[in-house]
C-alpha cells in the first residue's frame, strides 16, 4: 500500500511539473508584479497606487504627465490641447479629441464601443461627487467646482441621485467642448485631471454592470482587460480600437543617450499583452525576477545586497544577465508625528527639538534604507518647487549634548518628570524595528518610549480620533506640488483630515492659504520656501527620509524610466523579443 502511495505522490509531482506555463516569444508580453490585491477598476476609488496603476491601463484622463520630461510636466492626453484658462483663473475650457473610441463592450448597442464625448467627462466628474458612491477622490474637488457641492448635498438624502440636473461649474459647450468653472483659484486643478479619479467612464457601462462595474472596466485606454482575478492575476491585451497616440520625441537631455528616444514617434502601446501577477511576499517576487519571469521589480529590502554593490551599482552577477538598475528619489517624506493636541508637545517646542536632535538619521538610513535615502530637512522632498536645497535644519543631525540641553530647557532634565511616551506603529517587522530604534535613540537622552503595535485599521482609528501620542508614518505625493505636502500641517485639515498630527500655527496657515491659490511662479515659490523653513524650524514632526525608489528591470525591457505618477507608464514600455531569447540563456 505504501509503495502505491509513494508512486501516486511521485506521479502527482511529475504531472505537476509538466504543466507549467512556457515563455511565449510570438508576441510582446510584459510580465509585471504588483504586491497587493487590486480592489477594482472604478476610477473614482483609485486612491491606492496599485489600483490606480491598473486603472491607468484601461482608462484615460484629459491630461497626463509627460513620460520623459522632468520636472514633471502636464501634457494633453484625451484633451485636444491644454485648456484655455480665463484671466481670473476660474474658468477652464477643454476640447476633447475627436474620434476616440470606448472599447467594445456588451454595454453598448451591438457590443461596439462608441465615441468619447464631452458629456462623458461631465458624467465622470459628477460620479466623483455622487454622495451615494463616496469616491475616495472627492477631496480633490470638494468646494472647488461651482455648484458641485450644492448638487452633492441636495442628492445626499434623495432616493436616486439626479444626474440630469445642471451643475453651474460643469458646462457642455458642444459635443467636444466643455468648461469647468471653479469657485476660487485652484492652481493644482490641472493635476487633478491627470489623476485616475477623473478618468472618463461611459454611463452605459456603469449602468449596465451596476454594482459589478469595478470588475468590468471599459475605457478608451491602450489596453483591454482580458482576465481579472483580484487576488491572482490580471491580463490585458492591446486595445484594437486605441486611437493614434505616439511615443514622445523629446525628453530630458540624457534620454537620447539612454536609448529612451529609440521608439520616438511609434504608435502606442508598444507591447501586445501585459500580465500582472499579484505576489505579496518579497521572496517569490525576487525569485520570479531572478528567473526572468518578471520584467521589472522594486528591489525588496531584504534582497538589496544581492542587487546593489557599493550603495549605487548593480551587482555584477545581475549585470551579466543584462539586468539594469534605476535609482531615483521618490517624492515622499517619512516622519514621526507628534500629536499636537497633546499639551506635552503642543506647548513645548524645545521638547520636540530635543527629540529631533536625539534621533540618529544617519544610522536609520543605513539600517532601514540601505543608505539610499536622503535625510529630510523639512517636509518637501527634492524635485518639488518649494524644496530649498541649501536649507539645513538646525534640529536634524544627532547632537546629544544639544538635545540634553534643550530637554533641560523644556523642563525635563535628563528626561526627569517626563512621562513615558507612547509610540504607535503598525505591526510589520520593519515598522517594529523602526520603533525600537526610535526608543533606543530617545533613551540616550533619558526619554522612555513605549512601543504600541497596531493593525493598520487600529492605527488609523487612533490618529483619526487624535489618541495616538506619536506615530511613525510616510506621505507620498499625490501630485508634484508642495501644496500637497504643506496641507499636512494646515490647521483646518486636522484629524480625521490629512493633518493627522493636528499641528496648528496661525502664521503657517495664513501663508499656506495665500500660497495655495497662487499660480506657479517666483512669488509662490518664495512663500513655499518660507513655509518650508518654518516647517523645519518648528519641528512639528521628527522628519525622517526622502526615500529612493530602487528598481531593477530585465535587459529586454525598453524605455523604462522612473515616473512617480506611473499609472500610464506601461503603454510606453517595449519588449525586445530577440534580446529576451538571448538573455534568458544566461538565467
Amino acid at each position: 500500500m505504501s509503495t502505491r502511495l509513494i508512486s501516486l505522490v511521485f506521479a502527482f509531482m511529475i504531472a505537476a511539473v509538466g504543466c507549467s506555463r512556457e515563455q511565449n516569444f510570438d508576441e510582446k508580453v510584459l510580465n509585471l508584479i504588483t504586491p497587493q490585491k487590486i480592489k477594482g477598476f472604478d476610477p473614482i476609488y483609485a486612491a491606492d497606487l496599485y489600483a490606480s496603476n491598473e486603472i491607468g491601463k484601461v482608462y484615460e484622463g484629459l491630461l497626463e504627465f509627460h513620460y520623459l520630461k522632468r520636472p514633471y510636466e502636464l501634457t494633453p492626453n484625451l484633451a485636444e490641447s491644454m485648456p484655455e484658462v480665463s484671466a481670473d483663473g476660474l474658468t477652464y475650457t477643454f476640447k476633447v479629441k475627436k474620434g476616440v473610441m470606448f472599447q467594445d463592450s456588451k454595454a453598448f448597442p451591438n457590443g461596439k464601443g462608441r465615441e468619447l464625448k464631452a458629456d462623458d467627462f461631465i458624467y465622470s466628474i459628477r460620479r466623483m461627487a455622487d454622495p451615494k458612491l463616496q469616491s475616495t477622490g472627492w477631496w480633490l474637488l470638494d468646494g472647488k467646482i461651482a455648484g458641485l457641492n450644492e448638487w452633492r448635498d441636495k442628492n445626499a438624502n434623495a432616493e436616486k441621485v439626479n444626474y440630469d440636473e445642471a451643475v453651474e461649474g460643469l458646462k457642455k459647450i458642444d459635443d467636444y467642448t466643455f468648461q469647468f468653472k471653479l469657485t476660487k483659484p485652484f492652481p493644482q486643478f490641472l493635476y487633478a485631471l491627470a489623476m485616475p479619479f477623473t478618468f472618463a467612464v461611459a454611463k452605459e457601462v456603469v449602468e449596465h454592470h451596476g454594482q459589478e462595474f469595478q470588475n468590468y472596466p471599459v475605457g478608451t485606454g491602450p489596453f483591454k482587460l482580458e482576465y481579472f482575478d483580484n487576488s491572482n492575476r490580471i491580463v490585458y491585451h492591446r486595445n484594437p480600437t486605441f486611437r493614434e497616440k505616439f511615443y514622445p520625441s523629446e525628453g530630458e537631455a540624457t534620454d537620447e543617450a539612454a536609448g529612451l528616444l529609440a521608439d520616438a514617434g511609434k504608435k502606442l502601446p508598444l507591447v501586445d499583452k501585459v500580465i500582472v501577477n499579484i505576489v505579496v511576499e518579497s521572496q517569490p517576487q525576487w525569485l520570479n525576477f531572478q528567473k526572468g519571469s518578471a520584467d521589472l521589480l522594486g528591489v525588496p529590502k531584504d534582497n538589496f545586497d544581492q542587487a546593489i554593490v557599493g550603495g549605487k551599482n548593480l551587482h555584477p552577477d545581475m549585470a551579466k544577465k543584462g539586468i539594469r538598475l534605476s535609482m531615483v528619489n521618490a517624492l515622499d517624506t517619512t516622519y514621526v508625528a507628534f500629536n499636537h493636541t497633546d499639551p506635552l508637545f503642543k506647548d513645548n517646542i524645545k521638547l520636540r527639538q530635543a527629540m529631533s536632535l536625539a534621533y540618529d538619521h544617519v544610522e536609520s538610513n543605513k539600517l532601514f534604507y540601505n543608505n539610499t535615502a536622503t535625510i529630510a530637512q523639512s517636509i518637501i522632498p527634492p524635485g518639488i518647487s518649494g524644496h530649498k536645497k541649501e536649507y539645513k535644519n538646525p534640529y536634524i543631525g544627532r547632537n546629544l549634548e544639544m538635545a540634553k540641553k534643550l530637554l533641560k530647557e523644556a523642563g525635563y532634565p535628563d528626561g526627569k518628570g517626563l512621562p513615558e511616551l507612547n509610540y504607535e506603529t503598525v505591526g510589520s517587522t520593519v515598522s517594529r524595528q523602526q520603533g525600537e530604534f526610535f526608543a533606543k535613540n530617545m533613551a540616550d537622552i533619558g526619554i522612555k518610549i513605549r512601543i504600541s503595535t497596531n493593525t493598520w485599521p487600529e492605527l488609523v482609528k487612533k490618529t483619526n480620533t487624535k489618541t495616538a501620542q506619536m506615530f511613525g508614518i510616510a506621505w507620498g505625493a499625490d501630485y508634484p506640488d508642495a501644496e500637497n505636502f504643506f496641507g499636512l500641517l494646515f490647521g483646518p485639515n486636522e484629524s480625521p483630515g490629512s493633518n493627522s498630527s493636528n499641528y496648528k500655527n496661525p502664521t503657517f496657515d495664513k501663508i499656506f492659504a495665500q500660497a495655495s491659490i497662487m499660480q506657479d511662479g517666483p512669488e509662490r515659490t518664495a512663500l513655499y520656501e518660507q513655509l518650508y523653513e518654518m516647517a523645519g524650524n518648528e519641528v512639528p514632526w521628527i522628519y525622517g527620509m526622502h526615500r529612493t525608489s530602487v528598481t531593477v528591470y530585465q535587459g529586454w525591457v525598453k524605455n523604462y524610466k522612473y515616473i512617480e505618477f506611473n499609472h500610464t507608464q506601461v503603454q510606453y514600455l517595449n519588449a525586445d523579443l530577440e534580446a529576451k531569447k538571448e538573455l534568458l540563456k544566461k538565467f
Partner: protein, 311 residues
C-alpha cells in the same frame, strides 16, 4: 441517531447567535473604524460620517447586531466594503484554490502519517522508531516560514522543479502551482501527526485484546492493521475530521508565499481593512462547518466502533 443529529443541528442556532455576538463585539471594540480606511488619506469628518451612515454603522448597536444575526441565518452577507464584490462569490472563487491545495495535501499527509506511525509502533523502541521520532521532533522545531523559504528557493528556483508562485484554476494546470506548497504542508504535518498517532497506537498495543490476538497466533502486522488500528480509530477520527473545517479557511502562509488566491488571503485582507461583512461571513461559515464536522465525527464513531450509540 436521527434525533441526536436533529438535536445537534438545532444547537447551531444558539451557536450562530453566540458567534455573531462575539464577532460583533470584537468588531465594535477592537477593530478600527472602516470608514476612514475606505475613504483614504484625505477623508473629511463629514465624509466619514456619511459613509458610516451608508454602512449602517450609525444605527443603534442592537439594530446593528440584529443585522449581523439576520445575515448569518440568511447567508446574505452582502458585498465586501473594501472591494464591493459579492461576498458569496468571493468565497466561491477563493474556496477552489484553497481546497485544491489543502485537501490533497491533508489526505496524503494523514495517510502517510498513519502508515509511518504504524511502522514506528511496529518497531517501537528500535532504531527506526528513534530515528523517525527524532526527525519528527527536529522537524517540528523549525519554523514553518523557514521550510517555505527554503523549499521555494531550492526546489522552485534553484532546481526549477516547480513554479515559484502563482495559480491557474483549471485542471491539470493547478497541479504545478499547488504541488510544492502541498509537499511543504505534508512535511509540516508529518511531525505532529506521526507523534500523535504513534501515541494513540501504542496506547492500544498494550491492551489485553492485543495480547489475546497474539496468543491466538496472529501475526504482528495483522494485529496492527486489523485490531490495533481499528480500535485506535476513535481518537484518529476526532483528530482528523475536526481539522477539515480549517482546510476550507485555507493555509494562510502557504497561500501568501505561493500567491495562491485562496480564502486565507481573503480573510487576512478583510482583517487588515476592517471589512466587517467578509469577516462576519468567514466566521459564521467556519463555525457552521466546525459544528457540521464535529457532528460527522460523532457519526463516524458509530461506524468505527459499533458499541458507540448516539442518543
Amino acid at each position: 441517531m436521527t434525533t441526536y443529529i436533529i438535536r445537534r443541528l438545532l444547537y447551531m442556532i444558539p451557536v450562530i447567535f453566540g458567534v455573531s455576538f462575539i464577532i460583533f463585539v470584537l468588531f465594535n471594540v477592537v477593530a478600527g473604524d472602516p470608514a476612514p480606511l475606505l475613504l483614504g488619506k484625505h477623508a473629511t469628518a463629514q465624509q466619514i460620517h456619511d459613509l458610516r451612515e451608508q454602512l449602517g454603522l450609525n444605527k443603534p448597536l442592537f439594530a446593528q447586531y440584529m443585522d449581523v444575526v439576520k445575515s448569518a441565518f440568511t447567508f446574505d452577507f452582502g458585498r465586501s466594503w473594501a472591494t464591493r464584490q459579492d461576498i458569496i462569490e468571493m468565497i466561491r472563487q477563493g474556496a477552489w484554490p484553497s481546497l485544491t491545495l489543502t485537501i490533497p495535501a491533508f489526505a496524503i499527509s494523514t495517510v502517510l502519517s498513519i502508515l509511518l506511525s504504524l511502522v514506528v509502533a511496529f518497531y517501537r523502541g528500535k532504531g527506526i522508531d528513534l530515528t523517525i521520532r527524532f526527525l519528527c521532533i527536529a522537524g517540528q522545531s523549525i519554523s514553518s516560514v523557514a521550510y517555505i523559504l527554503f523549499f521555494q528557493y531550492f526546489f522552485a528556483y534553484k532546481l526549477g522543479w516547480f513554479e515559484i508562485s502563482g495559480y491557474e484554476p483549471e485542471f491539470p494546470m493547478f497541479l504545478s502551482y499547488v504541488a510544492l506548497p502541498g509537499i511543504i504542508w505534508i512535511v509540516l504535518s508529518l511531525g505532529p501527526d506521526v507523534r500523535f498517532f504513534r501515541t494513540v497506537i501504542l496506547d492500544e498495543i498494550y491492551q489485553d485484546y492485543v495480547r489475546t490476538a497474539r496468543a491466538k497466533g496472529l501475526g504482528e502486522i495483522t494485529v496492527l492493521l486489523k485490531h490495533v488500528l481499528r480500535n485506535a480509530m476513535i481518537p484518529i477520527i476526532t483528530y482528523v475530521v475536526i481539522q477539515i473545517p480549517f482546510l476550507i479557511l485555507g493555509a494562510l502562509l502557504l497561500e501568501s508565499f505561493f500567491s495562491i488566491p485562496g480564502l486565507g488571503g481573503i480573510t487576512l485582507n478583510a482583517l487588515n481593512s476592517s471589512d466587517f461583512p467578509v469577516i462576519k461571513a468567514m466566521a459564521v461559515l467556519s463555525s457552521i462547518a466546525y459544528i457540521l464536522f464535529s457532528l460527522l465525527t460523532d457519526v463516524l464513531y458509530t461506524l468505527a466502533d459499533p458499541r458507540v450509540k448516539l442518543k
